[in-house]
Symmetry: C2
Subunit: 245 residues, 2 copies
Amino acid sequence: MTYCVGILLDEGVVLASDSRTNAGIDRVSTFRKMFVFEKPGERFFCLVTAGNLSLTQGVISLLGEWLNNENPEQDLFAVGSMFGAARIVGNALREIHKTDGGYLQQHEVDFSASFILAGQIKDGQLRLYLVYDAGNFIEAMGVTTYFQIGEVKYGKPILDRVIQRDTSLSDASKCALISFDSTMRSNVSVGPPLDLLIYRRNALKTGFTVRLEDHDPYLKAIRDGWGAAILKAFHDVSAGSGWTF
Amino acid sequence: MTYCVGILLDEGVVLASDSRTNAGIDRVSTFRKMFVFEKPGERFFCLVTAGNLSLTQGVISLLGEWLNNENPEQDLFAVGSMFGAARIVGNALREIHKTDGGYLQQHEVDFSASFILAGQIKDGQLRLYLVYDAGNFIEAMGVTTYFQIGEVKYGKPILDRVIQRDTSLSDASKCALISFDSTMRSNVSVGPPLDLLIYRRNALKTGFTVRLEDHDPYLKAIRDGWGAAILKAFHDVSAGSGWTF
């Protein structure tokens, strides 16, 4: 399994991904699921990935091979808009499906993937997309401030309660880590290290990245602090049911 | 969809269920999913149900028809142990599957169900079971203090952080309602009114039941209080990441 989140804010964007993969419960590995393509000062893209690992790796490799081929339907460094960039990710996904899909189907292997794409091209807007397995995609707009992929449910309530468009990058990063903590507590197939990236709007280059191991002091402080804060919050909520039993 | 939870505590048991059913998004109805069979002073059983409504209603009706037939493999009022009672629920489920399953399969209708059973028979222990679609079941023991059925993920983190065997019936009820609030915020196919039942260990009869409509003052106080408490908890957690970006 996998858990990834991308959060679009006035100040910029926060992306986070876990790094656990498993092919059966006795074959657990660590693979990075966050990838950056950037030309500092001109364009910045970050992808986080969920699904079949050979498929997601294939897409990332293909996007790398297509760089600088100057075909605007393939080259993230040549494309003129974020809409076009999302199409390129979809195209790459369709290409790998076309190449490998039939064979995998013969072996009855689940062969699907999804991606969150964030990015900005000079003179354009910062945008956040969710690319589905069919290569189609949607964009975050209006009240939709985040996308999740993979094991999305355990970590959703805290995002819904905290994240708004004007949440700070710092608070959104903290909220993302709490969301991961709730998910990792409930699903052992989501696990550290966690990759987190912060992009400041209009920077046109990666702002900050960190890989948080399980024993990272900040991750541990959030985990312990959140456990205690939730218990306090629980006891602070008025319990005046008036019921007798 | 459905959400139900059963929590086993030193003091007793708390069960809660939503009441929304839907056959497609344009056919949404309200049905009770909590059912009590009791002989006050001698035995008490409570079932909460998830899955295909014709199947769960069939099981509940069959359990009602079997009452007082004095067959210990069918009659909840004759069975000698909670283990036997869980078997009876499984038997009823298998019976309905046998009667209707083939026809439903012909129509490609998803025909599955699960149940949480709590109960106590005089001179026996209070026990909590999760009965699966195949009619087999597991019992809550050791560190396992609760079972959920239906849409289980959104509401699980708060249960994991709060519920222990020595949690009070009052706190467990509050926690169950917070768990429902998180679920109902994220999945519109889980909805009020909520049914909640509190059984005090060794009482051998229902202790307290309530049906909470959406506008119920206690449910509203918990919903509003929890939203505010979570935001406060979020801001209380140390944010000393030391990151610069």
